[in-house]
Amino acid sequence: MFRYIVRRLLQMVLAFFGTTLIVFALMFAGRGDARNVAQSLAGERPVSEAQLNAMIQEFHLNEGFFAQYFYYIGGLLHGDFGTSLTGQPINEILARAWPVTAKLAVVAILFTIIFGVTGGVIAGIRRGGILDNSTLVLTLVVIGIPSIVLAPVAQYLFAVKWPIFPATAGADPSLYQILLPGMVLGSLSLATALRLTRASVGENLRSDYVRTARSKGLQPRRVIGVHVLRNSLIPIVTFLGVELGNLMGGAIVTEGVFNVPGVGQYLFRSIRTGDGPLVIGFVSVLVVVYLVINLVVDVLYAVLDPRIRYE
């Protein structure tokens, strides 16, 4: 286990440097020579030769690619993500956007758990029943619908045609305002959660220990509640963990459509306005979050299921 974690951490470091190097190379490739960059940083103001040189010195613009990458990584590791083109420190924007996205992700995950996991458990126990068959067809449909279809259509149906929910959320959104986008986000992973739970419950129902529990005369309620559920929820927990990681970055479309001022929306807007530093800063953070959550989930898997041993 310890060796596994160390190996995974090393892998994560590799992935981190690989990704940031690519992201940085893309940023580096597009901009001109040191003087042009300094000029564009100054905006429209006329800049004297001395000021240009000072800026080149300050931002290390005349140094080589790897030296600049080194400074960028150094800043990143110190928690300094640079400044957006609008002049705001990216740290501040992140601090503002992160709680909103986290709230949205929690709503989405809760929605997935309440409908997906419960539905999957029922479908798994009553295999072949009406609920089972109808949910299977339904999940097949939902699994294929991309978020760019689901988000605008849900917005039209539940906010314009039948105005149950507000169409858009504003700054500092309330829970009610992010309920609809949260449900849209949650329904994207609903189908997978449902199918996974169903398969997992079905598999465990046929296992030896369930037969043993039944044959020693345990009540069916106890067999399912204690023996089956506990064992079948292990893969679901890990799936939800990975999904939480995806939600942090995958909310770009949903947050953009519903105007929720979270991480995804800043990303959405900064892509459109071409705010390079903001895009790169946010992507770096999201990649790190994604990597860390994946690691936590893998370790959690071994903790929850003692049969799994990583070397």
Binding site: Q11, G144, I145, P152, V257, L267, V287
Partner: protein, 328 residues
């Protein structure tokens, strides 16, 4: 991937006199006689592929998915079959006009025929999805074969690369890369989207093919071929590849569906394909901005996109279920 064909092939190879001592060494289960089961069907033995086909034929979802996928394909190749209207023939005075003549779903904000634009949108989507799936499939086969066949340090290096690429979220990476591609010629943008999706989406398939190559490598027919003096290239190409390609085809079919969805998402965000290219993602984005005035410009391309993505995912899913003996 038929088990019985493998047995037959082994028979053939081991029947040839070779320099090695006893080809019928103990612990080589495939040296048993040809019909291992007294088959219920006389004549041809039942193969895994045959069983799978029997299952598939009875699966209505498979047929529905196949029909939708074929219609989408036809739409991409000859859109003129489905509509006689020109998708670029737009007139602002027709803005949000109701259905009229060939335009059965009315007109959008720019006064373009909604239905015609949705039909012509199939081309870009399937082109990008298909080429990206092809790129991803080729990379996956190459990497998976080399890593699985040679093992050792090539395997270690390639597997680490797979780990790294797998750690990069597809959409985020695509956003960063596409933001850098100069907007301009239609073909460069299509090529850029294909490359981004193909270069980032091959990892799952590569892992699958690696593990099936490792299994295939230890089979008797590979040993036999090596004994007959076949080189690495020939063994990989003629013996291992045909026996380990089936699961990859399934994954690539599903990936095709998700590549189409990702292309539409990138175009929706304004960084994938760009107007004047007709793409469902672009149509959905402009439709959603004016949904209070007219809703068909949003709904029609949405339905086209969802059905196409769904068809490919369902197709791959049905084939995988049919080939998975555990689910029988």
């Amino acid at each position: 991937m038929s088990d019985f064909e493998t047995v037959a092939a082994t028979e053939l190879h081991t029947a040839t006199p070779g320099p090695a001592g006893n080809p019928n060494a103990p612990g080589q289960p495939s040296d048993i006689g040809v019909p291992p089961t007294p088959s219920a069907v006389p004549g041809r033995p039942r193969s895994l592929a045959g069983d799978a086909w029997r299952d598939l034929r009875r699966n209505p979802l498979f047929w529905i998915a196949l029909v939708i996928a074929l219609i989408a394909l036809l739409m991409a190749i000859v859109p003129q079959l489905f509509t006689s209207a020109d998708p670029n023939d737009c007139a602002l005075r027709m803005q949000h006009h109701g259905p009229q003549g060939a335009a059965i779903f009315g007109f959008d904000f720019q006064g373009c025929d909604v239905y015609a634009r949705a039909v012509y949108g199939a081309r870009a989507s399937l082109l990008v999805g298909g080429l990206a799936a092809l790129t991803a499939g080729l990379i996956a086969i190459l990497v998976g074969m080399v890593a699985g066949f040679f093992g050792g340090w090539p395997d270690a290096v390639l597997s680490r690369i797979v780990d790294i690429v797998l750690g990069i979220p597809l959409l985020l990476a695509a956003i960063v890369v596409m933001g850098r591609v100069p907007s301009g010629h239609e073909k460069t943008r299509i090529a850029a989207v294909v490359l981004v999706l193909g270069l980032l989406g091959w990892t799952t398939a590569a892992r699958v093919i690696r593990s099936s190559v490792i299994t295939a490598k230890q089979q008797d027919y590979v040993q036999a071929a090596r004994m007959l003096g076949a080189g690495n290239g020939r063994i990989m190409w003629r013996h291992i590849l045909p026996n380990s390609i089936a699961p990859v085809l399934v994954i690539i079919t599903i990936a095709l569906g998700s590549f189409i969805a990702t292309e539409a998402t990138l175009s929706f965000l304004g960084i994938g394909l760009q107007s004047p290219t007709i793409s469902w993602g672009i149509s959905i984005d402009s439709g959603r901005l004016h949904m209070r005035e007219a809703v068909t410009p949003l709904i029609v391309p949405s339905v086209f996109l969802a059905l196409t993505v769904l068809a490919f995912i369902m197709l791959g899913d049905a084939i995988r279920d049919a080939f998975d003996p555990k689910l029988r």
